[in-house]
Subunit: 355 residues, 2 copies
C-alpha cells in the first residue's frame, strides 16, 4: 500500500533525494566506495559540500556579505549559539511556541531577554502582532513556523535591530528577503535532508561584537573560515541536502514551490473548514502552510481515535497531533505531493459520510 | 577494481553496515518509508536507538551507574562539553597530538589547565609516560589514539582523579575497563558509523558538581534524561551504528576483534621494519594498531610520490599521510579486512623490488 508521509520531522523527502542518496550509499559517484566511508577531505566530497553551499545561496538569492555553513548538533544547539555569538546585553524574543520558548530559555543564560509578546496563554494559537522591539536590543529573534502549533509568519519582518530567525520548518518553502536578516538557522530534517545537519546563513558583519570567549565549535566564524570543514561534517546528510537542492532548482525554484505549497495548504484548510467533523486550531490569518493542525469539532470528539485508525488504515502516516494540541497534524513540506493531500482529503470526506 | 579503503576517517565500514544501511534508505524495516524520512519518535526508530545504546553497553561491558548517549556535533564539540560539565577549578591534560591540543585549548576557557606532559617538541612521535596528575584536578583528560600521528595508549590508566578520554579513533578496537572512566566520548566515523554522531559514556555520579550554568544542549544530563531524544538525533548514523554493533557481536566481541587488530597491525609494522624503503615514524612501544604511519627511508625520499601513485593505481585509497607527518598512513580500523592489509604489503614489496 502506498504510504502518505505527513510526519512533522524528520519528514518526507523527494524521491529524487532518496533514490540518489541510496545509490551513493552503495557507490559514491563512481569512487567504488560508499558515501558513508569516504574522507570528507577527498575532492569528491569537498565538491559536494561546496556545491550544496552554492546552491543554497542561489535558491535563496543570498546577497554578498553572507556566509552559508552546514553544522552538526541540530537547531536546538543554535538556541545557545545565537546568543553566544550575538548577545552582549539584551535580546528581544517573540514567544510563539515550544521552540521559541526553548530558545528564550537558552538566551537567558547570556544576558537580559525581553519577551516582546507571547501567545502562550492561548496555547500558541496565534502569532502576536502588537509588539515593539527596543532599539537597545542586540537582536530580535523569532520562529518563522511553529511546527507543533501550526502557525507561521510567512513574511520577513522589518526591524530596527539585527534580525535572527529559526526557519527550521519552513525554510525553502517560499522566497525570503535574506538582506533583512543577520542570522537564519534551520535544522535540515523538514525541507532539506535527513536529521543530522543544520543550515546557518550568517551576515559576516554581525559577528565579532561580543566580548565573551566563545568555544571554538560554537563560534560561527570557525565554520565560516573553514567552509564547514573545521571538523568532520555530517557527510551523508549534506550529500542528501545537495540532492534536495538540485530537485528544487529543477522544480523551478522557490517562487514555484511557494505557489504549490499555497495550493496544497488551501485545499486541506478548505476541507477542514467545510467538513462538519473537523475544525482548525489556529487563527485563520496565521495558518501555517507547512503544518496543518486540526481537531474534531466538539460534537464529534468521540470519533477522534476512530478517524486516526481509519486514516492510518488508508496509508496516512504521522498525522497524530502533538500532545500539546491533540487531534491531528498534517505536515505538507515541499516534498509532499498534492496527490497525497488529495488522498487525505478523500479520507476525511469518506469518514464524514460514514458518520 | 577492488578498492582498499585505508582512510583515516570517515573510514571503512563493514559490508554488513553498508548493505543494511542502503536497504533502510529504500525501505526502513518494512514501514514502506525510507529511514531518511521517518519520525525519530516512531516506535521503529525508538527501538533502534534503544537497541544501539544497549549493545554499546553489552559490547563494552559497561557497569551499572553509567549512561550511553548518542549526540550530534562531532567529538570536537566534546572538547568544550567535557569542561562545561566537569571542570570547576582545574583539569589535567596529556598533550599527545593535534586533537589533544585542541581539547586543551577549549578547557582553558573554563578554568586552569595543567598540561602534565607533551610530546609536541618531538612532533608527537611518542606518548609521554613520566607525568603526574595532581590530586587537586577535577579530572585527567587523554586521547587514547592519535589518528594523525599514529600513537596509541592501549591501556586504561590508573588515576586518582576523574578520568576523561577521547576514544574517537580506537573505541571498540579492544575491551576497555569502563569502571576506570568518568567520561568517554568518541566521534563515530572510525569504528562505528558514518560521520554525524558522537557516542558518550558517562558515569552518572560525575555530573552535577560544577556551579556554572550549562546550556541545555551541552549538558550531558539533558541527553541522558531523554535517552538521546531530547532533540531530533542523527537518525541515519545511529541506524548505521546499530548495524556495526550487531556485526561486532557476530564477530565474537571485542576480545576477538582486538586479536584480529593486533594481527593486522603486526604484519604491516613487520613489513615497514623489514622493507628497505620505509620506516615507521613513532616510538615502537607506542605504535597505534589503528593508524600506521610510515615514511620513506632518507635514502629513498625521492620515491615518495612514486609509491603514492603506485599504491593508488593498485586500488589503495587514503594512504597519504597527514601534512603534519608526511609520508603515508594506513588506517586499519575494525572493518578493514586482513586481505586488504596483505594487498598493501604486497604492493610495498613489489615497489621495493622495482627500486
Amino acid at each position: 500500500m502506498k504510504k502518505h508521509n505527513f510526519s512533522a520531522g524528520p519528514s518526507i523527502l523527494s524521491e529524487y533525494t532518496i533514490k540518489n542518496s541510496a545509490a551513493a550509499v552503495t557507490d559514491f559517484e563512481g569512487t567504488g566506495l560508499s558515501i558513508l566511508e569516504v574522507s570528507h577531505r577527498g575532492k569528491e566530497f569537498v565538491a559536494v559540500c561546496e556545491e550544496a553551499r552554492a546552491r543554497v545561496k542561489e535558491l535563496l538569492d543570498v546577497p554578498a556579505g553572507y556566509d552559508v555553513v552546514f553544522l552538526g548538533g541540530g537547531a536546538s544547539l543554535q538556541f545557545c549559539m545565537a546568543p553566544f555569538n550575538l548577545l552582549n546585553n539584551k535580546a528581544s524574543y517573540l514567544d510563539t511556541g515550544t521552540w521559541a520558548s526553548n530558545a528564550i530559555k537558552e538566551a537567558k543564560l547570556f544576558g537580559e531577554v525581553d519577551v516582546v509578546a507571547s501567545s502562550k496563554d492561548a496555547n500558541y494559537t496565534f502569532i502576536p502582532k502588537d509588539y515593539k522591539v527596543g532599539k537597545d536590543s542586540d537582536y530580535f529573534h523569532f520562529t518563522s513556523n511553529n511546527t507543533i502549533f501550526g502557525t507561521e509568519m510567512r513574511y520577513d519582518p522589518d526591524c530596527d535591530v539585527r534580525l535572527v530567525c529559526d526557519m527550521s520548518s519552513d525554510i525553502f518553502s517560499r522566497p525570503v528577503d535574506i538582506s533583512k536578516y543577520d542570522l537564519i538557522y534551520a535544522g535540515a530534517q523538514k525541507n532539506l535532508a535527513p536529521a543530522g545537519v543544520t543550515l546557518a546563513i550568517v551576515r559576516e558583519g554581525a559577528l565579532g561584537h561580543v566580548e565573551r570567549a566563545i568555544p571554538t565549535m560554537l563560534d560561527y566564524r570557525t565554520h565560516i573560515k573553514k567552509e564547514s570543514m573545521f571538523n568532520t561534517p555530517p557527510v551523508f546528510p549534506i550529500y542528501a541536502a545537495l540532492q534536495t537542492l538540485k530537485w528544487y532548482k529543477d522544480l523551478g525554484g522557490l517562487t514555484v514551490i511557494e505557489k504549490i505549497n499555497l495550493e496544497k495548504a488551501a485545499i486541506l484548510y478548505d476541507e477542514i473548514d467545510r467538513n462538519k467533523l473537523f475544525r482548525g486550531t489556529v487563527a485563520t490569518e496565521d495558518r501555517s502552510i507547512m503544518n496543518v493542525c486540526f481537531v474534531m469539532n466538539d460534537e464529534y470528539k468521540e470519533l477522534e481515535s476512530g478517524f486516526g485508525a481509519f486514516a492510518s488504515a488508508a496509508g496516512m502516516v504521522g498525522i497524530k497531533g502533538h500532545r500539546s494540541v491533540g487531534g491531528f497534524r498534517a505536515s505538507l513540506y515541499n516534498a509532499m505531493p498534492k496527490s497525497s493531500v488529495e488522498a487525505l482529503i478523500a479520507i476525511m470526506q469518506e469518514f464524514e459520510k460514514q458518520n
